[in-house]
Amino acid sequence: MALAEAGGAAIDRQEPEALVARVALGDREAFADLFFACSEPLTRLCRRLLGSDEDAKDARSEVFLRAREALAGYDPARPFRTWLLAVAAHHCIDQLRRRAVEGRLFDAADLSADALPSAAPSPLGSALARERREQLLAALDALPPRHRAPLVLRYFAELPYDAIAELLGVRARDVGVLLFRAKLRLREALSEGGLQ
């Protein structure tokens, strides 16, 4: 009886750990609870990666199904939220890849460090970023997916380089080049905006 009471109390409090334990046992209700708890960052990740609210909504329901099927591979020792975001990132990258010509997000020039410009605008300062928030977000949305995806994966999903590399199907070292190229585009956009 004590066991049942303890279980009930934990479930009532909706502790993430208790929910995760229930999810690990294949409890679909608990999975739905956890999913909706993470729904907001998940939708925003999809929105940032795919570029439109409509696509983000579609992606969200796809990710729900996909995550539920992939649940067997979830390791409860890791945070559920990050796992779920990774599943979402997988899905969105697949979508982007499907949209891209020949299913490729990047070409050789994107990945080459040699083609990076030698004189680049200086890094964005926090103050400037706060000041030009809307402008910066608009610039981010205007970036092509091949530049936007690495940025979102690194600075929103906070994925390490090797995880990003696996998602994008490139080498870990290329991730640095891709990210830097994306940052340059943002810096340029902002400096142009500043001039106007």
């Binding site: 009886m1 979830y74 390791d75 945070p79 990774a86 890094p123």
Partner: protein
Amino acid sequence: MSCPPEWWVAAYVDQGIEPAEVRRLEAHLVGCERCRGRVLALREEARALTALLADDAAPARGAVLAVGPAPARGFAYGLPLAVGVTALATAAGSALIEMLPSGLGWLSPSTLLGVNEMLFDTVFLLRDRAPGWLELATALGALAGLAAVFTFLAGALLRRYAGARALAAFALLVLALGGSEPARATVRFEHRDSVRIARGESHAGTLVVSCESLEIDGIVVGDVLAVCERVAIRGEVEGSVIAMGREIELRGRIADGLIAGGEQIAVTGTVGASAYLAGERIVVGPGARVARDAFLGGERVRVEGEVARDLASVGERLEIEGEVGRDVEVRAERVLVLSGARVAGGLRAHLPERERLEVAEGAVIAGASDVVLLDRHAHTLWSRYRDGRFYTWTAVGFVASFLIGLILHALAPSWFAGRIETGRAFFASLGLGAAFAVLFPFGLVLLALTIVGIPAALIGLAAWAVSLYLGAVVAAALIGRSLVRPRGDSMREFGMALAAGLAVVVLLRNLPFVGAPAGWVIALVGVGVLLAQAHAAWRRTRRPAG
């Protein structure tokens, strides 16, 4: 060292370079004020971007992301290749076996490997050589098995209806099991080298025996369950007898039925109900009487005594010299009805040739005797497709599997969560399933050798058969999903996928030549997927969230 490019410093800031490279860069930073400045600026930029993207709900700092299982990217060539190779291999194998001339029947894998004899030999050898070890292992196994079943039931009940109701239900279950008839009957477990109930002795209650030789000269008032090398019943059993052994001999009287499997079975006594006998040589000797039906399956079957009702037999050779009260139905290579035989009903023999039925001069068959020609190839290949019942039963089987799949999906959706996306996964599942299909029955036989083990082994046998069936259903769902590609997991969508998958499975299973092996491959792959799922679930429960 000249100053590294800015993107490299940015990667360093993001912790995106190798430790060795970190050391080299930091060595450079010590002496380069310009690069130190870049590091600071890039770090600020990274923070700014994080803050910008996070809006107001940034994820916890330092969260390490576990990359989920990568869903299949694009089209995997491995899987179709693996399925193709397996299909070709099974087709070639079964075609070879089908086309083998009957004279070369001994080349058939099961005969060649002597699977039956090997099984018997291994079991009895183990019994002889390491009885102590075997007993301990099997007793522990039986206990562990029962404990596992109970834990599973308790866990399932608690999960489903947490609270007092679950405990009440569980208590009821325990009471029901503990208080059931077999448990209360006076069961005598015997496990020695030889067990003998001497003439004049009697045993009241069920007798469960596992030993080298069992001899009953006295009376057993109850049932007998025996797994022994030799079983000899010369006395009386006021119940049924279920026996497995090398040599089984019944000279006395059994009030109820006899179910026996062994190398040699000889009945010269009386069976009060039906006899179901399977073995290499079966003799129902002169003076024997089976009060109801006899089902005899063996390489050589000889009936000299009396079968009061029907006689059904499957095997290579059947000889009838005694009396059969009703009809005889036999499927064999050769049937001899010898002089002195009396069949009160008809005789129907399924034989490869008409001449294979020989009725001697003095034999009497009261009813019609007809031979149904059993053309090996025509029979196995095409004849069943001309039979209406084939389609009825296929449809019934399809509906049953479909309903079972739906129920299972509603109760335990995680059973269907496994998937196969690569050739490697396919072979892994097939191997796992095959290992289970072969090793599990072996384990059961060992388990059955100990007295504690017999009930557990019977439960296990049922579980084995059920899991093969469910394996096929799970595999059908996998096939169906890959065909229909449902968007969701609702009852309707799953049902559509399952129906499509089952249709494919039923079709494959009924193909000539490859049907049977294909059915096995499908079931084994499904079992493999189920086992992998169970293992994953077990690992998850062992490593709870912390």
